[in-house]
Amino acid sequence: MSALLEVEGLVKRYRVARGRFVQAVSDVSFSIEAGEVLALVGESGCGKSTIGRCLVQLERRDAGTIRFDGMRIDTLSPRAFRPLRRRIQMVFQDPYGSLNPRLRVEQIIAEPLVHLGWAGDQRAVRARVFELLDLVHLPRTAAERRPHEFSGGQRQRIGIARALAARPDLLVCDEAVSALDVSVKAQIVNLLADLRAELGLAMLFISHDLAIVEQLADRVAVMYLGKLVEIGDTGQILRNPRHPYTRGLIAAVPRIDGVPPQDALLAGEPPDPAAPPAGCRFHGRCPRALPLCTAEEPLLVPAGAGRKAACHYLEPAQQGPRIALSELS
């Protein structure tokens, strides 16, 4: 059986200055099944957004393979990739910057229809735009208006409608709810959950917000400094993290009731990605680091129950939840 999306050994470098490179994404592999939601989490600069951008060819990968529906897409020219854009779409973080201020909402939502071969006559396009506005719970009168007339949450609905216009199979959501206020964020998260159920969408949900990831994602991939450190079932990983970084990340999430376990708080900040530490990239901040960790880079290996982690000294697997999450909130 082949997955909808298969990423293997993905590498993306950026040139920062004369001959200095940052490896934003370093040898990352994962896959997404049809209709599945994979969340990509990590702190800023860990490379999670770069992966999303590589998938939609906003960036060209430097090494590795990306297969979509069994077909290799990373080597396609921009022209050859265009037909695939219909099937892979993206929702952006910034609801203000992602809509061209000079276009009407109808023109914005219709853009994929026009360019990706759905071109029927004007009436068919308009009918589809109305359908999409209904889908994201915006009034049909919105079609005639311009982006500045809408609030952040409404704009994000417009962005989602645009992404769904061409009926994609995979939706890359890059921090799609991060810029929104709490009360509006809830609306958009629920909308995405509904759409996913209704349309059978697969999603790569890029986020730093573990609480939202927990509600939306089937599986989670945790990144640190360009590397995948742990990947597996959402419940498993969040309840029983086996990589010390995942554990620290979870411990740092502000909770509505009381103080999280202080012992798990991570010290320091991620190092300069242009000069990643030797060995395990996390060893400088790891509470459990041992000499081996500075010498040898751990591989991503099976860590039980279909999950994988990259650590020489995995946290022990536990039967019950390690942190009593259900009682926390």
């Binding site: 060819q57 854009r85 910057g97 992602s98 809509l99 061209n100 853009e111 992404a163 216009a165």
Partner: protein
């Protein structure tokens, strides 16, 4: 916001309309006088009722000549503004969007920009025969790098915006991205720039003619009239003063319009 810029804008437009009217109606307002008509008996007369601006060293009527001079200035201003903006925008858009060409184009533009516009135009005019079209061409080339740089910078700013990336993801081809997403978003600043280029071109033409490297002396242009009055500036200042004043007011009009438009598009103002 609209109120603050309204007065200068109206003033600038009024000046330009008046100048355009004078230029078009020059044959009527100048009476039956030919701007080139030489009357040796009436040399270097001061302003009078019959000759409101006086006459020059050859006895030509300055009022008539100044009116005809407006034609040259407005034509040069408009011609250069259009040509430099069009060519500069195309070059800037190519440099700003096609990564491979950026380095080469920008080095050349930087090189061109290192030669001060006056000098560049003078140099060009030294090789070309003085004619209105050559003047326009020389000034256009001198102003081109400014437009190209602005266009490139604007393209890069807009190109980095997320809605352009969203358009790429939506499958929009390069032409659509350039024409539908980028051009409309940089048009305002290019338009403002065009007005300043126009003002600068009018000034440059006068400089070229003033130093004798512009329009041939047979055509009355403000720079030419001033050049003729140069030798007698202490005793017959009126020959210099009238064309200089017209030049000043016209450039002021263009600048007022440009400033008002810029304030409207970008209230910070630079």
């Amino acid at each position: 916001m609209s109120r603050r810029g309204a007065v200068p804008l109206a003033l600038g437009l009024a000046i330009l309309l008046a100048m355009a009217f004078l230029a078009v109606a020059a044959p009527l307002l100048g009476g039956d006088r030919d701007p080139g008509l030489i009357l040796p008996a009436e040399r270097a007369l001061g302003p009078s009722f019959a000759r409101p601006f006086g006459t020059d060293l050859l006895g030509r009527d300055l009022f008539t000549r100044v009116l005809y001079g407006a034609r040259v200035s407005l034509l040069v201003g408009l011609g250069v503004a259009l040509a430099a903006t069009a060519a500069g925008t195309i070059i800037g858009m190519i440099a700003g969007y096609v990564r491979g060409l950026d380095g080469v184009i920008m080095r050349l533009i930087d090189g061109l920009m290192s030669i001060p516009p006056v000098l560049l135009a003078v140099t060009l005019m030294a090789v070309m025969r003085g004619s209105l079209w050559n003047v326009i061409a020389a000034i256009t080339l001198a102003e081109l790098p400014r437009v190209a740089r602005l266009a490139r910078a604007s393209v890069q700013t807009v190109r980095g915006q997320i809605f352009v990336q969203a358009a790429i993801v939506s499958g929009a081809p390069t032409t659509t991205i350039l024409l539908r997403h980028i051009l409309p978003n940089i048009a305002a600043s290019l338009f403002v720039q065009a007005s300043f280029i126009g003002a600068s071109a009018i000034m440059l033409e006068a400089v070229l003619s003033f130093i004798g490297a512009g329009i041939p002396p047979t055509i009355p242009s403000w720079g030419n009239i001033m050049a003729e009055g140069r030798s007698l500036w202490q005793v017959k200042p009126h020959i210099l003063a009238f064309p200089a004043l017209f030049l000043c007011v016209t450039v002021l009009g263009v600048n007022l319009v440009g400033d008002a438009l810029r304030d409207r598009f970008d209230p910070r103002g630079a």
